[in-house]
């Protein structure tokens, strides 16, 4: 199990029971040594999402328009879906906004 601090913002929290922050224990995928960001997304979909999964996930990743931040860093800087998530990491899913 890996303890992760999850955060949802930009409206995504509405899909997760209006919860903006939580701490969760996420199991490592069977056959894997480490938890990846990609696996975390699928785990959050299956275990936390309360409505409309099609607004959070597309294929094995997040929907277009959603940024994933690992420890205050764009996940593209550390491997996107392949990024390793370690104990205590802070992962933010944020929907880009268009309004003004």
């Amino acid at each position: 199990m890996v303890r992760v601090r999850l955060e949802f913002s930009g409206g995504l929290e509405l899909l997760f029971g209006n919860q903006k922050e939580c701490e969760v224990d996420v199991p490592v995928a069977s056959g894997q040594q480490e938890l990846t960001a990609g696996h975390l997304i699928l785990w959050a979909r299956d275990n936390m999402l309360q409505e409309r999964p099609e607004l959070f996930v597309k294929g094995n990743s997040v929907r277009p328009g959603i940024l994933v931040l690992i420890n205050e860093c764009d996940w593209e800087l550390c491997g996107a879906g392949e990024s390793t998530i370690s104990e205590g990491d802070h992962v933010v899913f944020i929907s880009t906004l268009h309004g003004g």
């Binding site: 913002s9 930009g10 409206g11 903006k20 409309r52 099609e54 607004l55 929907r63 277009p64 328009g65 959603i66 940024l67 931040l69 205050e72 860093c73 764009d74 593209e76 800087l77 933010v92 944020i94 929907s95 880009t96 906004l97 268009h98 309004g99 003004g100």
Partner: protein, 295 residues
């Protein structure tokens, strides 16, 4: 008294005296502001404070772009308009307000909005562009036009009680909007003010921060928020800054072999690409009475 050794008139030196006193700013930075120009795309919640503060700061020429007119439901956040101006074109109303604050600044109203056909000519005419628009089609168009024209883009958004800010297309490897969002979100993934509501002062904060970034870009003073995204959560009062990816070599707009060029941009179909028209979502009246009854 000896004549001043700078290009500001006595009236300008008086008006901008609090900038001139600033050790970090001073006369040279103010002169660069006075010679600079900013195009503000959108005269709404973000564009209002951005335009007012840039006019006040003395940016030489401001372009205000909108295709819409003032509605009473705008007034809770769009503070450069007034109740008497309901029905007036927003770019014209904005011009009146900016000129009243600072008549020494040139303010140009562009009342047809931004279209693929007109975007490049508009963006070419200014040093810095501010994206204060309210829909994905316009956001992709503004970004593409800035990449093609080689202009830095100060982008912000505000919906609900959240705000976001970054500067695109700046420096040797600053990303553009498409580097971050190569694929358009589906319409259901788009939070817009007309649907989700917005706490009026949130675009106020974000629009002021946009004015600040434009001032940094023009004056050369301070650190520009390139490759950084600032998130604002108004309910907790918390600002977070996160590090963003650099320019993507495969980006269709700013990458090594871009599909979007000065020749192709005017024909690009942004409505098809985003699946949404360049407006702020469904008319509010559909949901308003329901919402108002939800006590």
């Amino acid at each position: 008294r000896a004549p001043p050794r700078h290009g500001l008139s006595r009236a300008q030196a008086e008006r901008y005296s609090r900038h001139l006193l600033l050790p970090a700013f001073g006369v040279a930075a103010q002169e660069r502001l006075c010679r600079g120009s900013v195009l503000i795309v959108g005269c709404g919640g973000l564009g209002s404070p951005a335009a007012m503060y840039l006019a006040a700061a003395g940016v030489g020429r401001l372009g205000l772009v909108d295709h819409d007119s003032v509605d009473v439901s705008n007034l809770h956040r769009q503070v450069m308009h007034s109740t008497a101006r309901v029905g007036m074109h927003k770019a014209l109303s904005g011009r009146l307000t900016c000129a009243a604050i600072n008549p020494t600044v040139q303010v140009e109203a562009h009342v047809c909005g931004l279209s693929p056909a007109s975007a490049l000519a508009l963006v070419d005419g200014y040093d810095v562009v501010i994206d204060a628009s309210d829909n994905p089609a316009t956001r992709y168009l503004v970004s593409d036009a800035c990449v093609v024209a080689g202009k830095p883009l100060v982008s912000a958004a505000a919906v609900g009680t959240d705000g976001q800010l970054t500067v695109y297309n700046h420096g040797p490897d600053g990303p553009c909007y498409r580097c971050l969002f190569p694929e358009s979100p589906s319409p259901e993934n788009c939070s817009r003010c007309g649907e989700a509501g917005v706490l009026g002062v949130v675009p106020g904060v974000m629009g002021c921060l946009q004015a600040l970034e434009a001032i940094k870009l023009l004056s050369g003073v301070g650190e520009v928020a390139s490759k950084k995204l600032t998130l604002f959560d108004a309910l907790s009062g918390r600002f977070t800054t996160v590090r963003l990816r650099g320019r993507s070599p495969g980006c269709v707009a700013c990458g090594a072999s871009p599909a979007l060029t000065r020749a192709s941009l005017p024909d690009y179909d942004y409505v098809l690409f985003t699946g949404q028209p360049p407006d702020d979502g469904p008319p509010p009246d559909l949901q308003l009475l329901d919402a108002a009854a939800r006590l």
